[in-house]
């Protein structure tokens, strides 16, 4: 059974004049890391919200098609009931803090309390989430005194503590500095190693090229490309979708024009593949 199965999903916001997602079908296997890319307003956040049930339960609007997380139909459950199945991390770190918990430990435990877990489970899961996100030393600090990167890690830890089968991240590094972004990506990499299913909407293509299993490109709410990162990120069409090649792909293309790249060798999208391509001529 796939971790996520979307069939012919079309969604229009209550105030929208055109659909933000159009006839979107997608299947994500367990343990897969799927990256969602696209220009602004291409539907990335809307897709993330739809998977977490925020659409259609919080933002109502016109929702057609089906969305299954495991066996659970998101349209039949409330957002809170879906919390055990889907974890959502959003863009702005500070806005994801509950506003009712005074320490990082309590902030992470908040979701578990809402789901009625006992103290032993709360302690074990919160401690594990703190350790995984490198926040153990901040457990008794106020989450409001942390940096943006640390707050985003708190949001991630809060979601991980609930242990959902599917993790959805909507551009989690947008407001973070390179170091903060690196830390978040390191955690995602560890989760991928542990076999977690992850859907990541992200603009930092270098990281996607390196670690994603599959990439989809959204434009006007439609999936325009869906393939491995190598295929998608060097695709000639990508420039027409508001995106650009990575510097490594551009370097490989220039090398090809200059005759420094083997004619039958496809363009690369990572640093190591470009170096290897140049070395082999």
């Amino acid at each position: 059974m796939p971790a996520l199965e979307i069939a012919h999903l079309t969604y229009t916001y209550p105030t929208g004049t055109r659909p933000s997602l159009q006839d979107l079908s997608l299947r994500v296997e367990k343990g897969e890391l799927l990256a969602v890319i696209g220009e602004n307003n291409s539907g990335k956040s809307t897709l993330c919200y739809a998977i977490a049930g925020v659409i259609p339960h919080f933002f109502h609007g016109q929702f057609n098609g089906s969305m299954l997380v495991g066996k659970v139909n998101t349209a039949d459950q409330t957002i809170s009931a879906l919390a055990e199945h889907v974890g959502l991390v959003m863009q702005i770190p500070g806005n994801q803090l509950s506003g009712v918990r005074f320490t990082v430990f309590e902030e992470i435990a908040f979701g578990l309390e809402n789901l009625g877990m006992n103290r032993q489970v709360i302690h074990a899961r919160t401690t594990a989430a703190l350790a995984l996100t490198g926040l153990s030393a901040f457990a008794e600090r106020s989450p409001y005194q942390l940096s943006g990167g640390q707050q985003q890690k708190v949001a991630l830890a809060a979601v991980l503590a609930v242990s959902p089968s599917l993790l959805v991240l909507d551009e989690p590094t947008t407001f973070l500095d390179p170091q903060g972004a690196r830390q978040v990506f390191d955690i995602l990499l560890e989760l991928k190693r542990q076999g977690k299913t992850i859907i990541l909407a992200e603009q930092r293509l270098e990281w996607i090229a390196e670690f994603a299993d599959r990439v989809i490109v959204l434009q006007n709410g439609e999936i325009m490309l869906c393939d491995t990162p190598e295929e998608v990120l060097r695709h000639p069409q990508i420039k027409r979708m508001g995106l650009d090649w990575l510097p490594y792909t551009k370097a490989a293309a220039m090398a090809k024009e200059e005759g420094l790249w083997a004619k039958d060798r496809p363009l690369s999208s990572t640093f190591s593949a470009t170096v290897a391509g140049l070395q082999n001529g």
Partner: protein, 264 residues
């Protein structure tokens, strides 16, 4: 339960400590404030009662390790009010008869002075009881007590979110102010200038708050805030039989005093 230190990240006045007052159940401290108020307004009248209550609160503050903090806050907040009330009532109270001293044709009266002192003592008694609560009760403990009592989580949210979110709002106001000034907005000077400068400050503040409110609502939902079924609480608040008995005693005293006041 480890108590976080007083932090600038929230608007609480809580002072970390391990005294008996800190360990007391939050509902007991709340009921004590209510009892003080009821004694003042429905119980036996006269300054000895008020002085007794203030002295009792002072002893509690001393043993709870918050006397200095309470004293500092008390005199800062009550001094201007004391001067104002004594002056106004001493000179202008309706029942003034006996002159204590005069400044030319201005007379300072005994009745107004006694009245002002009495009101100030009453205020002091309630205020000191309230300070014991805010200095010795971490808001997280109050919220947990509310959850443990089975009251709706939304009530706990209403009580605690202003403490945590108001400082963030204050920070945002300062940021917007700095941003608008860097773009040439003059927010200093006369009243008219300041009034005009309010609009470029308030508009982004309100719009930003609305967006944040939407995001925070989603964040609460996706973390199961409205999940069906019973909730649990990581923080557990000790509630011994003795504390429960004290609570019921205070509750019945309050009822008795109110009934006594009605039929007096």
């Amino acid at each position: 339960m480890p108590q976080p230190e007083k932090q600038s990240g929230n608007a609480t006045l809580f002072i970390a400590g391990k005294s008996w007052l800190h360990r007391l159940h939050p509902f007991n401290k709340l009921l004590y404030i209510l009892l003080t108020g009821v004694i003042i307004y429905a119980g036996p009248k006269g300054w000895p009662v008020e002085v007794f209550l203030i002295t009792l609160n002072g002893i509690m503050a001393l043993t709870g390790g918050v006397f200095t903090a309470a004293w500092r806050l008390l005199w800062r907040s009550l001094l201007p009010l004391t001067l104002f009330m004594i002056t106004i009532h001493g000179f202008l109270h309706a029942d003034n008869r006996i002159i204590l001293f005069s400044f030319g044709r201005l007379h300072f009266y005994q009745e107004g002075f006694v009245f002002a002192i009495n009101v100030l003592l009453q205020l002091n008694a309630v205020l000191t009881a309230s300070l014991l609560f805010v200095f010795c009760t971490h808001p997280a403990d109050l919220i947990s007590a509310i959850s443990q009592a089975g009251w709706p989580p939304s009530l706990a949210y209403l009580l605690s979110s202003p403490l945590l979110l108001l400082p963030l709002m204050h920070t945002r106001i300062r940021t917007i102010q700095a941003a608008q000034r860097s773009r040439g907005l003059d927010s200093e000077g006369n009243f008219f200038k300041r009034f005009l400068a309010l609009f470029p400050l308030v508009t982004p503040l309100v719009l930003g708050a609305l967006v944040e409110m939407e995001q925070r609502s989603i964040a609460l939902e996706i973390r199961g805030f409205n999940a069906p079924g019973p909730t649990t609480s990581w923080r557990t608040i000790a509630d011994s039989t003795g504390q429960q008995a004290a609570r019921w005693t205070m509750f019945f005293l309050i009822i008795l005093l109110i009934i006594g006041r009605i039929f007096r």
